[in-house]
Every structure is written in structure tokens, then in C-alpha cells.
Symmetry: C2
Subunit: 595 residues, 2 copies
């Protein structure tokens, strides 16, 4: 790979932004990233710190070479715990791992993957095990630092029982993980990871899905999809690739990813048996779990909640089973007339997760695919099973989150959250949308962004994004960005409504900029400075307009905000508060109502 | 105008759609439009009726000539009531009405405007007056027919006290208007109108704003903006034009508009006094009201709630006064140190509204312009005043709706709705968004679509759209469409959540089409068939793919929905329900938890 061209992934900082690193106090050598946005000096305001999921790619000081991968900054912390070891005989890559791709069709293997590690003996090397043992890991401290953006004193909100502290301490992160209310997805084989935490008492997170296209994919293309998604704010990325080259592409992605990577191992297992659901077996699935755990996947979607008894409950649905994993397992169960191998071997799955600290994302294979099917018997029967599986996984020291719907009208969203908290012991909820109506194909980022904001407010810890292409086609670069920004909006609206103490800092800074006509600051403090600036340019392209005390809505002749400034000045000189009192006293001077 | 080129406004039907007209039973000659979407014959399903705001422009049988305007189909019903008469000496158009535009800069006057009418003597010719007198007008029957899309029996929802009937009768429309819970904006000088009703117990409506650009505008351009907005679903259109040619452009719009037109008369009054707020007077404002009432504007935003005592309450806000009308009036009040002429002459304003049946949209001049300012003392003080004004207007038989915010975080939205219902006696609420966060300039259709869906669910009767250009620039054609579709989504999500008995018909029809791989039906039943089809084409362009039993997400090899069909077939032959029972009985076969 030495002669490869410079990487084509997107790098470079955001405008007026600096990457800053905060060191830990418990763990030496720990540097957690934040982004600081600098308002214009004329504002006399401090920089605004924002959560930064984008990794070294937005750090001008970082040298990016995707053929080498990111620096394994987490490795010393893993090694220092002394409870893992290099696998003596790692699993060897098999032709079926890459769908038997050969020659020019085979994506080159990543040149120097780290040697896989696993737990020594039967040790639990999960963040949950450490948390329960009272250990505050480096990962926990790292995540805690990221959650504290510079907290405000004032806060108000309705948290529906969530208990977000004024200040997130490493100990708080530990306690939340120990209680099962949060997970810190961090495979010991993903040393490039910048640790983060997912839970109801933290900032709401978002996931973006990527995947190779059936036609053709280069490793740079696939790495760029991940880099692009995290640039705009994706907190985790799921690689849902199918077809050829799955193994090699995943290696490239993980080695270059600062965010947790999730997968649905069933997809690759199905490829290995030629796409025939009935031919799946525990042996093929188990082999796939080990393969991916050794590569460093941080969480697995496991559809063990699809039980034989649940399947008939879907027979009268409008849209049947729409989860790919759910329908694969349903078909397998029906064909073999028995409970799935996922359910029967759940205990062994836990052992693999425990030995690498892969977190469970218990899949909702029976999620509703339409408004008509929301909150039905099939969906909630599965959720009950997921609650039972959660307790089994917890008993094995495994970290667990629960996947949720789907398509749900607004009035049925809260019931989803309440049942999930109740049935799954407050394990973090991770929902797809939900879409609040079925009638807008082409706009399902919006139909679902509404539901996502609401369920995030009610307590969902992570929101899986939906792009405008949902139901219609494969998202391109613009769709991915639109999906991520839409979900950042939903997550942030939820943080505000929950009363997260730091959330409003950015809103207030941007609104002050807006009121003071600091146009550049308004762009730079927004989620997408490029688009905001481009929109402003369309009507008022000149540089002088970027400091103009008006905008194109009212034009220069009359501006409501400029008048507000006049009013404020007036108030200072003429004692308006007193005047207000005077008018309040004789306030009933309304016009007489004619009889 | 005879030699003018064919009109360039957008015409033509939606795909697979037929315009149908339903006749009334109380009023002969009444034909209310609906659109019926035909599923593919293979589906064996009845057509899906959808509300149709688009007017004759989507009727292939209609002859469109914007120089002649739409047919005044409503005129006979107005005339038949015998309580109005042609104005003996109509107001003459003055040079200042068009901003002193002359020669080539003057937009030509509409050739043959109808002669203005007004009430005979002091008669109240409002729909409210008729409703209170027990009269079911043609307009009420017309609106009732539109609301009934083909009702479903099953319904569920949480309506927060709204009481939507299974079937909307003309009498129900009358009763809701009589109670002040709904308005039917219908100026007697707008005979081209297709009447519609706005209220909490009807379908949630949306408004789109248009307005001339400062630079240049032709009348065709302006008419096309309105036609384009209603094509995608705008139920009313506000003309917020400023600058030159306001009068003539408005005439062109009204004569060609099947939907109610709203304005903010203050904007034109301000133009007449050269943009100097302090120079405004009751005389100029009154003259403008008469001018616009005689042209046929259906509702006026009147900022009479901005009282002198309220203004100091805004002094410590992050974003002061952001409403244009609010800041104009605040400046006037401060300058003259007295209550505004709107407030002092409110009684006379009512008389003008009453004589033409112009509905009040009581403006929220002090709405919050940022998350920080939401639900503050200034906002709610004004709302209290709006409640008082509502009762004055009602006493004059005037129809009233109330405008609402603005920027509000999710947890403070419901309080807005509850206070409005309480303070304003259930008069319809008409809100702008609200935006649920300030941090996404360029995406404020989405930040506000979230809030709009929620407040619509809680009871808001009409949602004023926000486009992606909000805060940044003037919306273009694409922005208008995006804003309208986003708000149709919000309104429909609200209808679903309220338990509107007809709302789910379209969702279910589209979901069945999705499940059965009727791609064309999926596109055609959606809010934007063009975009849905284009997105599908991007990945699977061939005509054969439009009947393919797979999509690009899973590809042909494996499709979850196809498996669902297999499962359904299996269920029919093997008695899955019984099998489910069997498994339920011995259901506790979960894996033992290790100690």
C-alpha cells in the first residue's frame, strides 16, 4: 500500500473552530476531544464548546493515512488492565468471509491489522464488569469529559424520570454503566476508538448506517462514507454491507474509525451460506461472531428476540416483518420448526461478547413497518423477550442496548419508551426514527425526525438515522449528510427538552449572534455552516452583507431586530420598567364592547 | 392583456389522480373538490380520496387564463343572501398603493376586477353571524364535504380535548364556527374562493407565505408562487409583499386564488408612509384595510396585542422583538408614548372586518425569537391581551384566529397550547412552527416541523410553514415546495395522532402498496410522487424495477418483505396460530441464567 495515492477522505477543520483536547485527572495520557467555536472578537464572548464525533480527521495537526489507520491511542489502557492477551491462534480469513471475491474484485486486505486480543481465560473484560467492580476505566473518564461541554447553571426541562447531573463525573459514568442504564461500546480490539457513552442520562446520540453497494466499492469509498458521517455528527456507525468483500472492507473501516462500529453479523453469516436463510446454522453464525469480534466491532445487532411463538402474531399485519434480520430468523424458525439458534445459543453468544467486550444491540426483528402495525402484539411480545435476554446478558457482565421501532404515530410513541424502560430494566433504548406517518416517501428523514425528537425527549439514548432515500434507494453522500443533520437536530431538541444543563449554550450563543447581526457567527455556530452560508449568499452574496444590520426578509429599510435594539437603547434611558408599571395600573383601558 | 402569452403557471393533474367534485345536498350548484388516487387495478383496491387544496389548476378540464382569473363560482351564494351590495363609490387606487411605481416598473392592473361589495348598512355578513343565527351557509356545506375524505370506522388517538366527529356535517361546521372554535375565512369580495374551515376539530391546515422580491416581479411570477404552493398542499397563502406594486400584485393573486389569502395590512401601510414607523396613523391604516377588504383579502394579521406596558418586558430578551409587525408597533408606541392605534381603534377595525367578512388573525408581535425567550412574560402578557381582543371581535360577529410562536423547546410547547385555549376561549390557534432549537440555520423547516407536528397534535388548527431559507434568505421554488411538504407531513402526523377518523386511510393504502411491491402506487399515494419516483430511479432506473419484488436496500437475493409473504402463505396452510399457542404454553424455555 506504500505507493497508494493520498487518501481521498474528507479532512480539515470546521470554520472558526479549533480542536481542543482535555486531559483526564485519573488516567495519565488521556486526551478527549472537543471542538471550540470562536465567536467574532467583536462579540466579546467565550468560545462555544461542542461535542466532537469527527475524530482526527478535523484536526489539522493529525496526519491521515487510511492505509495505516488511526493511532491506537486506547491500546495502552487496554493493555494496562492486564486481563487480555493476544489470541494465540487467531481465526484465519476464509474465502467466504469476502464472498469468494478474487483477483481484481477482491478489495485488498488492510496491510497491518493489530493482532486480535481476547480475555484471559473466562475473565469478563467488559466495561460493565469493571463498573460493577467499582473500577473507573480510562474509557469512562474519557466519555465523561466529552459529555461536559461547559455546563450552564440555569436549566429547565421535563426529563420523564431521567436524572441528568449538573456535571458528568467519571464516577457517574461508571455508576450508570454498572446499573445497566448506559453502555460504553468499546471492543478491546478497537484501540483506535475515542470512547463515548450511550444512556438516558447523557447527551442523546445518533447512529448512521453505511454499507457497500452491490456494484462496486473501493476501500477508500467505504472509509470516506464513515468519515463523512462522523464529520456531520454521527456518534456511531453501523456497517450493513452485504455481498462481496465484507471482511476486508470492515477491516478498513474499523482501523480508521474513532467511533464505535456496529454490525448485524447475521448479514455476513447469510452471505456465507449463499443467501439461503434455512441453511444458516449456529456453527456459521458463531464463526462470524468470532471473526467480527476479533476485528474490533463494538456492538452486534442480535435478533434473538424473534421467537417461534411470535411469528403468527405478524400474520395479519399490514406490512408483516420488515426487519431484514427479523425475517431471516422467522424464515429459519418456520423452516426448522424450532426456536432460533440465536435464542438457543444465547448463552454462548454472551461468552463471546464478554471475552471481547462487544455490546449487545438486541434487535427488534418484529418492529412495525407501518402506522397500522405500531404497538401491536408481535412488537411487544418481542420486547418482553428482549427484556428477558437483557437479564441473561447482564448476568454474564455483557453490555446491552435495545433496538426499537420503526413506524409509530405520535400518540403511541411514549408507550414504546415506557414499556421499554419497564420491560428491559432501563437498558438504553436505540430506536429507528420512529416515522410518524407513512405517506411521504422521499421525506422520511422528516417523518422520522419528528418521532426521533419526541422519543429522544422521552428517554431514548441513541437515534438511528433515516435518510431521504429510505424505502426508495441507496443514500448518496448528500442523503447521508441530510440524514445526520436531521438527527442531530432531533437529538439536540431532545437534549434541550430534557433539560440537559449544557444543551442551551449553543442555542443561546447562536441566537445572540443572530440578534447582533454577526452573520458569520450565526453560520459557524450552526450544525452546517456551509449550507447556511450558501443560502445567505444566494440572496445577499456580497461580503459586506455578512456584517449588514439587516437580512433579505425585511430588507435594509425595515428590520424588526434593528428596532429591538432601538427599543433596548430607549429602555435604558427612559426607565421603561416604571412606565410599564404605570400602564399596568390603569391597564383596563380596553375599548368598550358594544352591546 | 389579450395579446399576452399563455400563462406560465403550473397546471396539470397528479399522477394516477382524478379531480372529483362532490355536490351538496343543502345548496344546489355547489361542487366541492377532492382528489382520488387510483391504485393499480391489480390491487383490487378502491381509490383513495385526499383533500385537495390545489384548485382548478390540477383539473385538466379547467381553462386557465390568469388574465381573466378563476371563475367566481361562489358569487351566486353571496348574492343570494341579499345582505351585501356593490359599493357605490369604491375606493380609488392611489399611486401610493403601488409604491408610486410608474411606467415599466408598474405591474399592470388586473383588467377586470369584480366590483367591490360590502354589507348593507351595519349588517354582519360574517360566517360567524350566520352560524350564530343557525344558518348553514353554502360555504359551510362546501367545507364540510371537503373534510370527509371517506371515513374509516376504526380510530384511535389522543386528542387533548379536541372532539373530531366520525362524520363532518354542514351543521357541525356551523356549530363549530358559532362557538368560535373554527373560522371559515371567506371575504365576500373573494368569489373565486373554494371555502375551507380552520379549527381544532377539523383536519390540521397549513399556510405558505409568498411575497414579491424587492428586485423585480411580474404578475405571472407572483401568481405562480401561489399556484405552486397550493399544488403541494398549502391550505391558505399569505401575501407578505413589500415595496412597489403591492396593490396590483395582490389583485392578480386574489383573482386567481382558490384558497384564502391573508395579509399583514401594516406592511402596506408602512410603505405608504415611506417606511417610517412613527409616521403611521389610524387614517393611513384604516384606508389600507378598506383597500384590501374591497380587493378580497380573507384574513388580516392585526398586531393589536402589542401594548405599551408589554414592551419593557422584552428588554432583557436574547432576541428582543422579532416579529416585523410587533416591532413596528412597538416603535410607534414608544415614539408616541401611547397605546397603538390598532388597540385604540380596535372597535372600528372590527366594523370593517364585519362588513366584508375578513377574519382576524390576531398577530403575536411579541413571539419569542429564540429558545431562551420562549414562554416568557412578554409573550404570555400579549396572549392575554389577544384573548381580550378575541371577545371584543366576537361581540362584533367577527371571526378570529390567534397567531402563536415562534421558537419553543419541546417541553414548553404544550403550555402554549393550553394557555391559548384557556385565554382565547378556544379560538383557533395558528402557529409559526415552533422551532425546537436555534442551532440549525439552513434546516429550520425541520427544527420547526418537529414543533409543528407536536403543537398540531395538541390542538393547533393551522401551521404556518417555515422554509429551509428561514433566517438566511428568500425562499425559491424548491424551498417553497420543501416547506409545504414538510408541513403537510407535520399536519398529517398530527391528524393521525389526534385520531382523525380519515387520516390513516392514506397511510394504510400506501403501506399496503409498499408491502405488495406496487412501486407506482407507493409513489402516487405519497405527498410528492415526483421525488419518490426520481429517488427510486437513481438506484433502479428500469421500468421493470417498478414491478420488481425487491428494492435496492436488500437487493433481489434477499428481501424481508418477500419473506413476510412466504410466512403469510405458510401461516395459511399450517395453522400457525395453533402452533403459536403450543409455544406459548411451554413458553418458559429460555436459557438458564448462570449463577
Amino acid at each position: 500500500m506504500k505507493d497508494t495515492a493520498p487518501p481521498s477522505v474528507t479532512t480539515g477543520p470546521f470554520p472558526a473552530s479549533r480542536k481542543v483536547y482535555r486531559e483526564g485527572s485519573l488516567h495519565a495520557g488521556l486526551r478527549a476531544p472537543l471542538r471550540e467555536i470562536d465567536p467574532h472578537p467583536s462579540a466579546g464572548e467565550p468560545p462555544v464548546a461542542v461535542y466532537d464525533s469527527s475524530g482526527p480527521y478535523t484536526d489539522p495537526a493529525a496526519e491521515i493515512d487510511i492505509a495505516r489507520g488511526l493511532a491506537p491511542a486506547r491500546a495502552p489502557f487496554i493493555a494496562a488492565r492486564g486481563d487480555t492477551e493476544e489470541v494465540a491462534a487467531p481465526r484465519v480469513v476464509k474465502p467466504e468471509d469476502n464472498g469468494f471475491a478474487e483477483g481484481a474484485r477482491l478489495v485488498p486486505a488492510f496491510a497491518s491489522p493489530p493482532r486480535p486480543r481476547r480475555a484471559k481465560g473466562t475473565a469478563a473484560v467488559t466495561q460493565l464488569a469493571y463498573a460493577r467492580a467499582g473500577i473507573v476505566t480510562a474509557e469512562m473518564e474519557y466519555a465523561a469529559i466529552r459529555e461536559n461541554l461547559g455546563r450552564a447553571a440555569a436549566r429547565d426541562g421535563e426529563s420523564f424520570g431521567a436524572a441528568i447531573p449538573d456535571q458528568v463525573t467519571p464516577e457517574f459514568v461508571r455508576a450508570e454503566i454498572a446499573a445497566g442504564r448506559a453502555i460504553l461500546p468499546a471492543n478491546i480490539n478497537h484501540p483506535e476508538l475515542e470512547p463515548m457513552v450511550i444512556g438516558r442520562n447523557f447527551l442523546v446520540k445518533i447512529n448512521a448506517n453505511i454499507g457497500n453497494s452491490a456494484v462496486t466499492s473501493s476501500m477508500e469509498e467505504e472509509v470516506e462514507k464513515m468519515v463523512w458521517a462522523i464529520r456531520w455528527g454521527a456518534d456511531t456507525v453501523m456497517d450493513l454491507s452485504t455481498g462481496r468483500n465484507i471482511h476486508n472492507i470492515r477491516e478498513w473501516i474499523i482501523r480508521n474509525s474513532p467511533v464505535p462500529i456496529g454490525t448485524v453479523p447475521l448479514y455476513q453469516a447469510l452471505e456465507k451460506v449463499g443467501g439461503i436463510a434455512e441453511d444458516l446454522s449456529w456453527e456459521v453464525f458463531r464463526d462470524t461472531l468470532v471473526e467480527q469480534a476479533e476485528q474490533g466491532v463494538d456492538y452486534f445487532t442480535i435478533h434473538a428476540g424473534v421467537r417461534l411463538a411470535h411469528i403468527p402474531l405478524t400474520a395479519d399485519r399490514v406490512t408483516g416483518i420488515v426487519s431484514r434480520g427479523g425475517s431471516i430468523m422467522a424464515k429459519w424458525c418456520l423452516h426448522h420448526h424450532r426456536e432460533s439458534f440465536l435464542h438457543e445459543h444465547f448463552d454462548e453468544i454472551c461468552d463471546i461478547m464478554r471475552a471481547h467486550d462487544v455490546s449487545f444491540s438486541l434487535g427488534d426483528g418484529l418492529r412495525p413497518g407501518s402506522i397500522a402495525d405500531a404497538n401491536d402484539a408481535a412488537q411487544f411480545a418481542e420486547l418482553e423477550t428482549l427484556g428477558e435476554l437483557t437479564r441473561i446478558a447482564w448476568a454474564k457482565d455483557c453490555q446491552v442496548m435495545i433496538e426499537g421501532p420503526g413506524h409509530v404515530p405520535m400518540h403511541k410513541i411514549r408507550e414504546n419508551m415506557e414499556k421499554q424502560l419497564d420491560l428491559c430494566g432501563e437498558a438504553p433504548f436505540y430506536t429507528l426514527g420512529p416515522l410518524t406517518t407513512d405517506i411521504a416517501p422521499g421525506y422520511d428523514h422528516i417523518t422520522s425526525g419528528i418521532g426521533a425528537a419526541m422519543i429522544g425527549w422521552y428517554g431514548t439514548a441513541m437515534l438511528c438515522y433515516v435518510t431521504p432515500k429510505e424505502h426508495l434507494g441507496l443514500p448518496d453522500r448528500d442523503d447521508v449528510k441530510t440524514g445526520v443533520i436531521t438527527y442531530k437536530i432531533a437529538a439536540h431538541a431532545a437534549d434541550l427538552a430534557k433539560g440537559h444543563p449544557a444543551a442551551r449554550i449553543r442555542d443561546d450563543a447562536l441566537s445572540r449572534a443572530r440578534f447582533e447581526f454577526r452573520w458569520e457567527d450565526q453560520f459557524n455556530l450552526g450544525l452546517d455552516p456551509d449550507t447556511a452560508r450558501a443560502f445567505h449568499d444566494e440572496t445577499l452574496p456580497k461580503e459586506a452583507h455578512k456584517v449588514a444590520h439587516f437580512c433579505s426578509m425585511c430588507g435594509p429599510k425595515f428590520c424588526s431586530m434593528r428596532i429591538s435594539h432601538d427599543i433596548r437603547a430607549e429602555a435604558r434611558k427612559s426607565g421603561l420598567a416604571e412606565m410599564a408599571e404605570k400602564f399596568r395600573e390603569k391597564g383596563e383601558l380596553y375599548l368598550p364592547v358594544e352591546p
